[in-house]
Symmetry: C2
Subunit: 184 residues, 2 copies
């Protein structure tokens, strides 16, 4: 089975990058395997070979976020001190947004994504654990609203044209300051 | 020309309400005139008679928001005092979100909506004026990030399951407190 593993991996990464671009531009519903093939200048069969369905592609596109949220929640759950736990959670969320600027907005904004994530990935459950940790026991309405605004705001900030010119380190610093202000 | 105006207006409102529901569930790309007719239990021709294209329907769905943002910006521009102006803007944004919980998320999240709004409505231009007023001259990165998080967070909060149980008056009060905290 002497498969060209490196090259196959490279093709897979290129397909996923093109898929994420098109999802962000047109939504998941508005993107076809054919469009992804056209964007890459390859035959549709090459895309189909790696990802037989669009759902499989959505799952692969979100895999890094699924892994990262799981690792973040595991780390936070091991911290007994509440202030330290919150700090790790806020930093982790901000890092995730800055590292995956486009993905966050696609995940949050597209109604076509949610059912696929529920059916085929652990992401919704992990985000729920993240939310539960941030809220703590018996959260007030003020706490709920602060988390909702922070979560929604972080998700969309990655693709906000208003922030397009900010370098990653400035974006990270200011998002973290904003997160701490909302969630102290 | 003895048209049944009242009834016609009623049908139009029902079509728009069904369209907004379906846009929120499936996105604009994922919604057809046929689905809207099915949801209402009417013939597709009845929908088509009022809205010959889906774009026309999107424009009509956002019309209340277009009007409201225009009125808010006009009011704010007439206020010389900066603190008073900011207060009017933040209150107005929060009111809009609470009154149109679903619409805000559809507008923000769906990649199918943006080009239609640009082509056929004044909404993007009015939102830009709103943003310019909020930012003021020469805004810092911190100010840009605060506005981005606030704008994105407000947009998505209307349909966040975390806040679904909050009555409108509590949601309004807490969103306003959050907005002032971020944007003082």
């Amino acid at each position: 089975m002497a498969r060209p593993v490196g090259r196959r991996g490279e093709t897979r990464e290129r397909i996923l990058a093109a898929a994420l671009e098109l999802f962000a531009e047109n939504g998941v519903h508005g993107t076809s395997l054919q469009q992804i093939a056209d964007r890459l200048g390859v035959a549709k069969a090459s895309v189909y070979h790696q990802f037989p369905t669009k759902d499989a592609m959505v799952v692969a596109v979100v895999q890094p976020a699924t892994d990262a949220v799981g690792a973040l929640v595991d780390e936070a759950e091991s911290i007994a001190d509440r202030a330290g736990q919150l700090d790790v959670l806020l930093r982790g969320m901000v890092d995730l947004v800055v590292e995956q600027r486009t993905l966050a907005a696609v995940l949050h904004g597209d109604p076509g994504v949610e059912p696929v994530l529920r059916a085929f990935t652990d992401l919704p459950g992990r985000v729920q654990r993240l939310q539960d940790l941030l809220l703590g026991a018996d959260p007030s309405p003020a706490r709920r609203v602060a988390l909702s605004v922070l979560g929604g705001g972080l998700m969309l900030s990655g693709v906000d044209p208003l922030l397009a010119g900010l370098p990653d380190d400035v974006l990270r610093r200011e998002l973290l300051a904003t997160a701490r202000q909302l969630f102290h």
